[in-house]
C-alpha cells in the first residue's frame, strides 16, 4: 500500500536534485530546467496532499503553479536570449555587471 509518506519522500528527493542542479550547473538553461524540477516536486506534494485530504484543491493549486511555471519559463528564456545576445555565453559568471 502506497502511503502519503512515499509521495512526500519522492517529492523531497526530487526537490533536492533540483537544488543541486541550481547550485552546481554553470549553464543558464540548465539552471532554469532545475527550477522546473523543483516546481514539479512541489506539484507532486500538492496533488498527494489533495488526495490525502479528499479535496480537489491540491489539483487546482497545481494548475496555478503550472501557469506560473509557464510565465517564468517565458520571461526567463527571454532574459537568457537577451543575455546571450549581449555576451555570447550562457555562463552565469559572465554576467557580473550588477555585482557590488
Amino acid at each position: 500500500m502506497v502511503s502519503l509518506n512515499h509521495f512526500l519522500i519522492l517529492s523531497g528527493i526530487l526537490f533536492s536534485i533540483g537544488t543541486v542542479g541550481v547550485f552546481l550547473r554553470r549553464n543558464l538553461i540548465t539552471i532554469l530546467l532545475s527550477v522546473e524540477i523543483m516546481l514539479n516536486a512541489v506539484n507532486l506534494t500538492f496533488v498527494a496532499g489533495g488526495r490525502y485530504l479528499g479535496t480537489v484543491d491540491g489539483q487546482i493549486i497545481t494548475f496555478f503553479v503550472m501557469t506560473v511555471a509557464a510565465a517564468e519559463a517565458a520571461v526567463g528564456l527571454a532574459l537568457v536570449i537577451a543575455l546571450f545576445r549581449h555576451k555570447e555565453t550562457l555562463s552565469p559568471e559572465a554576467f557580473t555587471s550588477l555585482k557590488w
Binding site: V2, I13, N27, N40, L44, G54, T55, A71, A78
Partner: protein, 169 residues
Amino acid sequence: MDVVAFYIFAAIAILASLGVVGQRNPMHSVMLLIVSFGALAGLYVLLDAPFTAVTQIIIYAGAIMVLFLFVVMLLNAHTEDDIPKTVLGPRAIRIGVLLSLLLGLEVAYALSKLGITSFTTDSGTIAKISSVAQIGVQLFTTHAFAFEVTSILILVSMVGAVVIAGRKH
C-alpha cells in the same frame, strides 16, 4: 494504488532528474526532463488525478519544454563552459552539495515525525477528486478571482518576453 507502479515511476522520475542535472549537453537535459514529466504524470494517475496528469503532459511536456528546446536550438550553445577556478572552486561546489543534502535530510526528518499516513479508500471521495467537473466547478467558483488574476499574469509575462527578447530599434 499499485506499489510496483509507484516504484517504477518514482525510479524513472529520479533517474531522469539526475540525468538532467548531470548532462553537459542542454539538449539531452531537456529530453530527460520530458521523461521525468511523463513519469510524474503516471504518478498523478496513481493519485486519482487523471486531469492533472493530462495537463502535465500537454502544458509541461508539450508547451514549456518545446519553448526550452526552441531556445536551446536557437542559441546553439551545446557545450558548457568549464568552471573558472577563481570564481567557483571545488570548495563552493562542496558547500552547495552539502546544503542540498542538508535540505534533503531536513525533509526526511520532518517526514519521520509525520508517521504512516495512508490514503483514503472511500470510493465516493475518490470519484469526487478525480472528476473533471468537480475541478471545473471549484476553479470557476471558489477560485474564480485567482483564475482571472492568472490571465493578467500570462498577459504580463507575454508582453515582458516580447519586450526583453525583442530587437531594439
